[in-house]
Amino acid sequence: MSITIKYFGAIAEATGVTEEKVALEEVGNSIEELRSYCLTKYGDVGDLSFQVAVNQSLTTSGSLKDGDEVAFLPPFAGG
């Protein structure tokens, strides 16, 4: 039971990694728990603004399940 976490842009710069696979029991079962897991693990992320996407859809809360892909996305800057 694990999830994949992806980090982009300024967030990836703060974490030093772009992707990691983490056991669900380690992060908890919800987006809220995942956020606090990441903020504890990577303190610098707390200073940055970001949105979370689960399986490529933006979301602010909800539960996580085995195989989910969660992305931490800094402000968009396209165009």
Binding site: A53, P74, F76, G78, G79
Partner: protein, 147 residues
Amino acid sequence: MKNKEPKKVFMAGPIPPEKIAKSIANHQSKTNIGAHSIFLGQVRADEIDGKKVNAIEYSAYEEMAEKAFHEIRESAFSQFDMTCCHIYHSLGTVKAGELCLFVFTSSAHRKVAIEACNYLVEEIKAKVPVFGKELFEDESHQWKVNQ
């Protein structure tokens, strides 16, 4: 043009100006078109704290971004009576003065083409997970945020 497979939007490096001319040429056989509208995003050499931006290095959450581009395009087709719609966005390094976004809409009449083009550009800026690293001349950088 509706319900086609998602088109590839991203291209490596700057969008060559020749691509714009070629896109226009490609539509000359479609004589039901009466108006094209084009938006071109160009990298600006902003000066921040006395340092000049040399280039922007674009990256993206590509799978989500391609999906978002597709949804935006479908939504534009459902609202505007367009004949065609094309979107291209750069990934990787684009120097100041070079093009990073090309949105091209065509319709029978000008108002639809112009409004659809505006809609697409605003949606792209707000909803597509693309990230821009502004590279300064002294090799330092900062992360761009859309206004």
